[in-house]
């Protein structure tokens, strides 16, 4: 039986474009980090912090994150189903629409068409484009799965299908609005309801776009890279179902102490703590799959990316529940601690696993060995160090700021004015910006390596193809 003819050109295109938007996201991130240090770097009306920050987050989530999801899902689904992608034409349309949507989002956000709903800032015409995009993508993946030649569906496929459904439900509900004009609408939800719906979306967008898909990649690329199967199938079943069941209860932990009804906050807090179990189910499954293979952390740079990635996922899913506890939230919420947390997830977990996936794909879609493994190692260390500087400086800053916000004198008055607490942040914002620059350099090294692989890479060693053959 010959191998099915998988479509790889479309995967190449999605990889390339997600890298473009990834660089944009990080570059804008570095720019806004300097704007926080020096307000003279705001150039109104378009290039102000208030307009650029949504471009940073949305380019990161939708351009880099979702772009990589498109590439990886299309790659993985064909192999896991042992059948070519259902419709190449639909995938090409999706590529075209993906880039049109990201460009339209960036332009409209610069123009100030901003719903202010975090990670959902785009106005209604862009929302419609995103819905069409996601439907086209989902149909293609689901039809490929239905037409599969492999009866058993591997773990990665479960996470992929859950992500397709989850994102569709979340994004659509939070988008509900009444248009006033071409680029202005009012949410159908008001006040406290609006807050509750937004963070039900916001937190679960993290679950369905930035947790389930990277887990699908992790479960696929780890065994592929090490050549050893996942430790426990049963553990992955328990972790999967409990993860997607429990996540949806936790959105209100973003709204502790606000006017949201108390019982919703308490449920969110309880389920956030419970979420440690399924999150760590995957972490432990990953670690145990390394049994007898830990030497690969030295020998195989792919494993290094994947294992550091799942480690940051483990840390993220401990720190997150901690922040979801009322007393802890009272202290650190609204401070710089919070961006420190989210950047460990995005720069650490999601991006490390995504780039591992890209490194893994390169020889298989281009038929060439990765140009330079030393450069891949340099990339690894730059992004890990850059991210640790970034997050650690913000955690320290957040604790300091929270302490100052809460400090009181003997007569019951506050010790510091708000401005006094803000001024103390400047040194940490400097350190954070430097961390961001180091991270950006790491990304540029990565892109150079990818470019050189495409241009000058050597023919692949037979060993690589052998590992591929185990699918």
């Amino acid at each position: 039986m010959g191998k099915p003819q998988y479509h790889t050109d479309i995967v190449k295109s999605f990889v390339n474009w997600s890298l473009v938007w990834g660089v944009v996201a990080v570059l804008v991130g570095v720019i806004v980090s300097f704007q926080m240090i020096n307000p003279d770097l705001n150039y109104p009306p378009y290039l102000t912090f208030g307009r650029l920050r949504p471009i940073h987050t949305n380019a990161g989530i939708y351009g880099w994150g979702v772009g990589t999801i498109f590439a990886m899902f299309i790659y993985m689904v064909q192999r896991l189903c042992k059948t070519p992608l259902w419709s190449l034409g639909l995938a090409r349309f999706q590529l075209w629409l993906f880039n049109a949507t990201i460009i339209a989002a960036a332009v409209t956000l610069l123009l100030g068409y901003n719903t202010t709903l975090e990670y959902h800032e785009m106005e209604w015409p862009i929302d419609l484009m995103i819905v069409v995009l996601w439907v086209a993508f989902s149909i293609n993946i689901i039809m490929t799965i239905i037409k599969r030649k492999e009866e058993q569906m591997y773990i990665s496929l479960w996470y992929m299908m859950a992500a397709l459904i989850g994102v569709a439900i979340l994004f659509t509900v939070n988008a509900l609005a009444v248009p006033v004009s071409a680029f202005k609408s009012y949410s159908i939800f008001a006040g406290t309801n609006s807050a509750n719906v937004q963070w039900w979306f916001g937190h679960n967008a993290v679950a369905m776009a930035l947790t389930a898909p990277p887990l699908a990649m992790f479960y696929y690329f780890l065994p592929k890279s090490t050549g050893v199967p996942i430790y426990s199938h049963r553990l992955s079943i328990i972790a999967f179902w409990s993860l997607i069941f429990m996540y949806l209860w936790t959105g209100a932990h973003h709204l502790l102490w606000t006017p949201i009804p108390d019982w919703i906050q308490t449920l969110a807090m309880a389920f956030s703590i419970m979420l440690i179990a399924p999150s760590w189910g995957s972490v432990i499954n990953g670690y145990m799959s390394m049994k007898g293979q830990w030497h690969q952390m030295r020998d195989n740079y792919l494993v290094k990316f994947l294992i550091l990635g799942i480690t940051f996922y483990g840390l993220q899913t401990l720190q997150g529940p901690m922040q979801a506890i009322r007393s802890f939230s009272a202290f650190i919420h609204y401070t710089d601690w919070v961006p420190g947390h989210i950047h460990m997830g995005t720069m650490g977990w999601v991006s490390l696993v995504s780039v591992a996936g890209i490194y893994f794909l390169l020889p298989r879609i281009y038929g060439r060995e990765v140009y330079s493994i030393p450069l891949a190692n340099l990339h690894f260390w730059l992004v890990v160090i850059g991210q640790l500087i970034w997050s650690t400086s913000m955690w320290i800053a957040g604790v300091l700021q929270a302490g100052m916000w809460n400090a009181m004198n003997a007569d019951g008055s506050l010790t510091y004015t708000f401005t006094e607490t803000m001024v103390e942040m400047y040194p940490y914002w400097w350190i954070r910006a430097i961390g961001g620059v180091i991270y950006l350099i790491g990304i540029l090294v990565f892109i150079y390596n990818v470019y050189m692989t495409v241009q000058k890479g050597k023919e692949p060693a037979p060993k690589l193809l052998e590992v591929e053959g185990r699918a």
């Binding site: 307000p39 006040g191 609006s194 807050a195 009804p261 401070t335 803000m422």
Partner: protein
């Protein structure tokens, strides 16, 4: 079994997702924004205020400013009464935010006079020398578009008169955003409720402080008073301060309670000790320029 049937798996996943969704997202509609949390006095935005709110959204002010005061001691002391659900029923969408690079604004309305806001938006560093707030003076150059605002008010179903719409023609975006900021948290009389009654005789604990001691309190004046009353108490947004005009206890009350109707904020949250230091500084400082 479900591992071999994709449609079944997706149905099961949808069901799993919908349980938490139904209970924590859909069910609350039964209680939130109903008569149960309605607050008398909370009114919809006027055309000018709503347009100001849309400008606030357009400029992404929510990226650095929150709009919800939590029921925590330090927070209520710093910003004012904690936020109530019924105060937000006209907010589409909510603007509670998630990060305080700048301070919370939920109780900003009525805290400062309009003149303070115009100066602060134009040159934030003239009021807070080390702030990272960008300047927004350019908003003054943009005229409002009454027809667009009328359409918005119709979609929102907020009451508005043609006079209100017509008046927008002579206003600019800065007027609108400041009108909005002055409305924030001001629909309920929380300042009157929160006002602490001073009981007993007021005695100056720092009576007879020497000039060196007074000079050491200058930074307190500079960070809390000089923006409106001038670096050398010569006046500006607020009047010049002439110590001989008031007795110590009157001066204490003026600073501690403020004169909200004239734009003088209450400085009770500085605590009695620091208010007394300011009283002594204003009344007795004889350093050059005062």
């Amino acid at each position: 079994m479900w591992e071999k049937k994709p449609i079944l798996l997706m149905l099961m996943a949808t069901a799993a997702i919908l349980v938490g969704t139904t209970i924590t997202m859909i069910l609350p509609f039964v209680w939130v924004n109903t008569e149960a949390d309605r607050i008398e006095g909370v009114t919809p935005y006027t055309p000018l205020e709503q347009e100001g709110r849309d400008i606030y959204m357009r400029e992404g002010c929510n990226n650095c400013h929150t709009q919800t005061v939590r029921p925590l001691v330090a927070e209520v002391l710093r910003y004012g009464d904690y936020s109530k659900s019924g105060e937000f029923v006209y907010d589409r969408p909510f603007l509670w935010g998630s990060k305080r690079t700048g301070p919370d604004l939920a109780r900003l309305g009525g805290k400062y006079p309009d003149a303070w806001h115009y100066q602060h938006m134009e040159t934030p560093r003239s009021i807070f020398p080390k702030t990272n707030m960008p300047a927004y003076g350019w908003l003054s150059n943009n005229a409002l578009k009454p027809d667009k605002v009328r359409r918005k008010m119709q979609v929102l179903g907020f009451p508005h008169s043609e006079t209100q719409i017509a008046e927008l023609a002579s206003k600019n975006e800065m007027d609108a955003i400041i009108a909005y900021l002055q409305k924030l948290g001001n629909d309920i009389p929380w300042r009157q409720t929160a006002r602490t009654e001073i009981v007993g005789e007021l005695r100056n604990p720092f009576a007879g402080a020497d000039q060196a001691t007074l000079a050491a309190w200058q930074p307190l004046f500079q960070s809390n008073c000089s923006a409106c009353h001038g670096n050398a108490m010569q006046g500006g947004i607020g009047p010049a301060l002439v110590g001989d005009d008031y007795d110590e206890d009157i001066l204490f009350r003026l600073i501690y309670d403020g004169i909200p109707e004239q734009g003088m904020p209450s400085f009770a949250n500085l605590g009695t000790e620091r208010v007394w230091q300011l009283v002594n500084l204003i009344k007795y400082d004889r350093s050059p320029g005062n």
